[in-house]
């Protein structure tokens, strides 16, 4: 019996010295992956399934992970899974964005404000095409470096830089339009 399937850890040296045991990876990255899936367009009704898909792939492939950039590797899987779920979702009825996903440890006023900001974020992200949206989410929100993004997407570094510039510009312009339209700071 091949027990490697049930003991997904590796001993490879890595740059961030993060433990590469599955449970530790899950505990540390679940929320960020969940958030990223949502920001990459996975619908709320599919988020649990998508997150499950990501971490099953992580568990499955952890023994062969080369240990270079754990975050880049995780986000690469998340981008791919999000892509699959978006494709499936295109054939299914749409479910409205939930409003109850911000940190409720904050007070009601803060929750309301954050809900509004999150809605605005998703509105602005939806205005970016998929390629720009992906580099924007990974770079500006998840704070991956451009080389990390390039590796995660298997894309040319200069292409990533170009997409980042374009995405920032479009995002900023959309934010300014929102400000002009509502008369409020975002």
């Amino acid at each position: 019996m091949d027990l490697s399937l049930t003991r997904p850890t590796v001993e490879a040296p890595r740059e961030d010295q993060e433990p590469l045991a599955f449970d530790a990876i899950y505990a540390r990255h679940f929320r960020a992956i969940w958030r990223t899936l949502r920001r990459l367009g996975v619908r709320d009704a599919q988020l649990d399934d998508a997150a499950q898909d990501v971490f099953v792939v992580v568990h499955r492939k952890l023994p062969s992970f080369d240990g270079r950039s754990l975050r880049g590797w995780l986000y690469a899987i998340a981008v791919r899974v999000a892509s699959d779920h978006r494709r499936d979702a295109a054939r299914r009825p749409h479910v409205q964005l939930s409003e109850s996903l911000v940190d409720h440890a904050a007070g009601p006023a803060r929750v309301s404000e954050l809900n509004e900001s999150v809605r605005l974020l998703h509105t602005l992200l939806a205005q970016l095409d998929l390629a720009k949206r992906t580099v924007f989410v990974l770079g500006e929100l998840e704070q991956l470096t451009a080389p990390e993004i390039a590796e995660a997407l298997n894309a040319n570094l200069n292409t990533v830089y170009a997409r980042q510039r374009a995405a920032r510009s479009q995002f900023e312009a959309a934010l300014a339009r929102h400000r002009e339209r509502t008369g409020r700071r975002p």
Binding site: T6, F55, R91, S117
Partner: protein, 233 residues
């Protein structure tokens, strides 16, 4: 970006949270899938029927086949024919609608191996000597992860049933740019080739796979493939 934009992004960066139970719920589902995969492996090793070994997880059972995909690399020809694969096909796979054909390719700016929904048509992908030497099979748009899992289930069933030719044909007919299960596909191909007596191809494919993925979890199974021919060499 302007300070105001940066402040906005700073504010929303960690604002979204899954519901309080999601982390535990998803972990339970992942563990269920892992346990089911391990049980399936044990059952397969014992050459026992697998009915019930692949239990659905709470959220869905995609993971079962990812993990049970490891079964593909177990030397299979000597095994008795398995039960029909449909009886072990996860509910989510069964429920999944047929993939819609792509209306038109999306222009890919990437240098190589684009994500599934950004990829151009497969026919536009770089040709390898291997692919050029093979008859062009039914060329499909890049498969989704779930489609890949479904394919691997069929390949696994064929291998377990001793029908390596069908397994190889299925692998050839369903090409993909999705790299997440590339190792599983390659491992299945090695076993199929070795089962068919195409030893040189099998060894070459195995060497390429192990060079590409030296820590492949399928390494021990792969090293058992084509071994009789190696011993007699």
């Amino acid at each position: 970006m302007s300070p105001e934009s940066r402040a906005f992004l700073e504010r929303v960066r960690d604002a979204e949270e899954p519901d309080p139970d999601a982390e535990r719920r998803v972990l339970a589902a992942v563990r269920a899938a892992v346990a089911a995969g391990a049980a399936a492996t044990a059952a397969d090793t014992a050459r026992a029927p697998m009915t019930g070994a692949v239990a659905p997880s709470k959220l869905g059972v995609l993971g079962v086949w990812l993990l049970a995909g490891g079964l593909i690399v177990l030397p299979a020809p000597a095994l008795p024919p398995s039960e029909p694969s449909a009886t072990r096909t996860p509910a989510r796979l069964l429920a999944a609608p047929e993939p819609a054909p792509r209306a038109e390719p999306v222009a890919a700016e990437r240098s190589s191996a684009p994500a599934a929904d950004e990829a151009g048509p497969l026919a536009a992908s770089p040709e390898t000597p291997e692919s050029l030497s093979k008859p062009r099979a039914r060329v499909r748009a890049p498969a989704s992860l779930r489609e890949e899992l479904e394919l691997l289930a069929k390949v696994q069933a064929a291998l377990r049933g001793g029908d390596a030719a069908t397994a190889l044909r299925q692998l050839d007919e369903h090409r993909t740019l999705d790299e997440q299960l590339q190792g599983e596909r390659a491992a299945a191909r090695v076993l199929a080739l070795c089962s068919l007596g195409r030893t040189a191809e099998g060894r070459r494919s195995r060497a390429e796979l192990l060079q590409r993925e030296p820590t492949s979890p399928h390494r021990s199974a792969l090293e058992r493939a084509c071994v009789e021919d190696e011993l007699s060499d």
